[in-house]
Amino acid sequence: MASEPPGSSSVSAAIKNQLRAAAFAVLLLTVLTGVVFPLVVTLLARSLFPRQAAGSLIDKDGRVTGSELIGQDFRAPGYFHPRPSAAGSGYDGLSSAGTNLGPLSPSLTAGARHDPWKPDANESYDGISQLAAAYRRENGLTRQSPLPVDAVTRSGSGLDPHISPANAALQATRVARARHLPLERVLRLIALHTEPRQWLFLGEPRVNVLALNLALDQVALLRAGRDR
């Protein structure tokens, strides 16, 4: 580099310099941004926000019940139910996904019994009509009563931990009956677990299904203790 002969060899020296610079730049900056940076962030995160850094996990009797942020499937009538999910067979934490069904897709409204493109896999799923009918049946609603849209649509992640307060309210009667609780009590629990919009204007009011169901179990425990 110091003494460059004129002509073509100086061009080849320049190219050699560029190649060297490019190779070292990629390697050095990769280590800086792909190794040092994530390690620093992870270490800082662990000391500043240990709960969030670990995935906001919920421990119950020494076992992990799930994550506050990741929705999970509930089917028993005594629990509040989440939205329908397209993640795996439903709330599969390893295969986040939405349906990706187009707005005019017949499968979106009527579901699919089996997918002719994949004869081996059982990929049947319910459409909005079936989901709405099932939701009305479970909660003793008439065919005329309008449903909140989140009750019958699938989220983008398939792991949505929330339902709308309207959705929760429609499920309250079923939950109260299954748990032999006064409806009043269940509605109070919903109100207690309804998160307002963040900073009053960001996002939508919502109810964390897992948190609400944990609270229901807590109530059941307290009652059992008192009865004894």
Partner: protein, 575 residues
């Protein structure tokens, strides 16, 4: 529009606007080598890096050399990433039982091109394909590197307009290193911690095995998400850590996190016009460009919001659903959207990511209403000139302006000029090349894909007009280096892995190289003094010419294709 949603949209634009001057001024100082606050800490590191690289930071590169360095840097980045991905089973944190998607040569090739061009198109789902090592050292590092390269090219382009009688447009290595050390890393560090505070995980734990309240097993994917999450947005890359990308609660846990992530996408590209104005010594020029961007952004936001809040009448009928928003439920089209974001946060995400060349969508655009899905598609087709990719957005809007000025110049019989630089025949050839690459790289592959069985095989979820939209969206997004998708398209096949990679390469280098070549020509020119006959380029008239040029070119190029997809679908929806 409910009042809180209106507030959210307004607050977003306000925050972006308030950040323009501090961020734009900061970047101008950084890239002109002026004093900045972190100098004392960073200068020694910077000089150490130059020593290792063997580069002289004072060396001024001609446009050709600058382009060469950019190409080599991208090539080596892609090669390293390809190698890391193929070697994934031999590297740490690999678990064959969980990572079920095989890293085939075509998938690794597609991903390597995708992340080294900031497209970050993903033909795979992160949690079932990538080890933590691949996510960090492979993908996350490329998020930084490719973003820095894009910013460097944008700055090199600006120097062409700013300098007079200059043989060079700066030093690529200096611009890349300064992009990373001064701009991306400090903001990413603060941003990553803010995201962790909101709930984004950052750990190296294995996937959690939980037992749900009802006693069923649930596995929960984990990982060093926060450091990845911030740079994927800040660098306008957008490829997600998980399959559901920004919709996944671990990537985007709260409405505030969503707001911050969208801000991370828009803030730097929105500030670049001001950087340009300051470097030029005419801040007003920067504000006019920003004004055009903000206006187009608001229009897209309003239209998309109306379509999505209006909901899907077919779905409303099928389930007898409450379509309008109330205080207790979001209403509208919630298929593929998260309750915490509702319509407002989702639409803000769709518009910011589609304008910002960032694929980190927080809702599934495939399930949007036809009109709602048309807006992000149109944003990408117009060249992502509203904020746009880091660096690329600025030269996109300026190229559009040049075409408008050229047409306007013809109409009034003047030689078109911008910032005292003449747009003569040599310049306009480069500009036309730039303009023609886009329709060629988007429409031809789309036409091929709908004509051959390998292309049609991707339509596993949707067919008919929506299937066409999926394919058009795929090539548009690849070319625009955006990376978002109508996700129903099964794109992990040799056909799509190779064809979208070609579109991504065309979108990155087919635009950046003409832009740098043009910058080289402009830099060699002198600067014409402003006279009474000059069309002022910091005026309302200029803004109208710019928007007009964008709409006319866009409509002429793409209206027929759009008519076959989203437009016909919207008409069907009304039946």
């Amino acid at each position: 529009m409910t009042f809180p949603i209106f507030l959210q949209y307004t607050a977003f634009l306000l925050c972006v606007t308030l950040l323009v001057k501090p961020l734009g001024g900061y970047m101008a100082r950084v890239f002109q080598g002026e004093w900045t606050l972190p100098d004392r800490l960073l200068r020694p590191i910077e000089n150490g890096i130059y020593r290792v690289l063997g580069v002289d930071p004072r060396h001024d590169m001609a446009a050709s050399e600058y382009s060469g360095a950019f190409l080599l840097f991208s090539l080596f980045g892609a090669l390293l990433l390809y190698g890391l991905l193929r070697a994934q089973p031999l590297l740490p944190w690999y678990d064959a039982a969980l990572l079920k998607t095989p890293m085939t040569p075509d998938l690794a090739f597609n991903t390597a091109i995708s992340f080294s061009t900031t497209a970050t198109w993903q033909a795979y789902g992160g949690e079932t394909t990538m080890s933590y090592f691949s996510q960090m050292v492979g993908l996350e590092a490329q998020n930084f590197l490719a973003a820095a390269a894009g910013l460097a090219v944008g700055i090199g382009f600006l120097r062409g307009l700013v300098r007079t009688k200059s043989p060079g447009i700066g030093n690529f290595w200096v611009d890349v290193v300064r992009s990373i050390l001064w701009v991306l890393l400090p903001i990413a560090l603060v941003g990553a911690l803010l995201l962790v505070w909101q709930g984004v995980p950052a750990n190296f734990e294995p996937y959690t095995r939980a037992t749900t309240l009802e006693g069923r097993p649930q596995s929960i994917a984990q990982g060093p998400v926060a450091p990845f999450e911030i740079i994927k947005n800040l660098g306008t890359n957008g490829g997600g850590f998980f399959n559901a990308n920004g919709a996944h609660p671990f990537e985007n846990p709260t409405p505030l996190a969503n707001f911050l992530e969208m801000l991370a996408i828009a803030a730097l590209p929105a500030a670049l016009p001001y950087t340009f104005g300051r470097m030029l010594g005419r801040p007003r020029q920067g504000w006019v460009l920003f004004g055009v961007m903000a206006c187009l952004f608001s229009i897209g936001l309003t239209l998309c919001h109306a379509a999505e809040q209006g909901g899907n009448p077919w779905v409303a009928r099928a389930g007898r659903i409450e379509s309008s928003a109330t205080e207790n439920q979001p209403g509208g089209n919630m298929e593929g959207k998260e309750v915490r974001f509702g319509i407002g946060g989702s639409v803000l995400g769709a518009i910011t990511t589609s304008n910002g060349a960032t694929g980190s969508t927080n809702s599934m655009h495939d399930s949007y209403t036809p009109a709602g899905g048309l807006i992000p598609l149109a944003n990408m087709l117009l060249g992502e000139m509203v904020f746009g990719g880091l660096g690329a957005g600025l030269y996109s809007i300026l190229f559009t302006a040049f075409i408008g000025l050229f047409a306007a110049g013809l109409m009034i019989g003047k030689t078109p000029e911008f910032a005292g630089k003449i747009i003569a025949s040599g310049e306009i050839k480069l500009i036309m090349l730039y303009t023609l690459v886009a329709p060629a790289a988007v429409l031809i592959p789309t036409a091929v894909a709908v004509a051959v069985p390998a292309g049609l095989a991707g339509l596993t979820t949707n067919r008919g007009p929506h299937g066409f939209s999926e394919i058009l969206y795929a090539f548009t997004s690849s070319f625009a280096n955006n990376g978002q998708a109508f996700g129903g398209l099964s794109a992990n096949s040799p056909f799509y892995n190779l064809s979208t990679a070609v579109a991504m390469l065309a979108g990155r280098f087919g635009l950046a190289i003409p832009a740098l070549a043009l910058a080289g020509r402009f830099a060699r020119q002198g600067r014409r003094p402003m006279t009474a006959g000059t069309l002022p380029t910091d005026s309302f008239t200029f803004a109208v010419v710019l928007v007009g040029a964008a709409l006319i070119i866009g409509a002429l190029s793409y209206l027929p294709a759009l008519a076959l997809g989203p437009i016909v679908e919207q008409l069907l929806l009304a039946t």
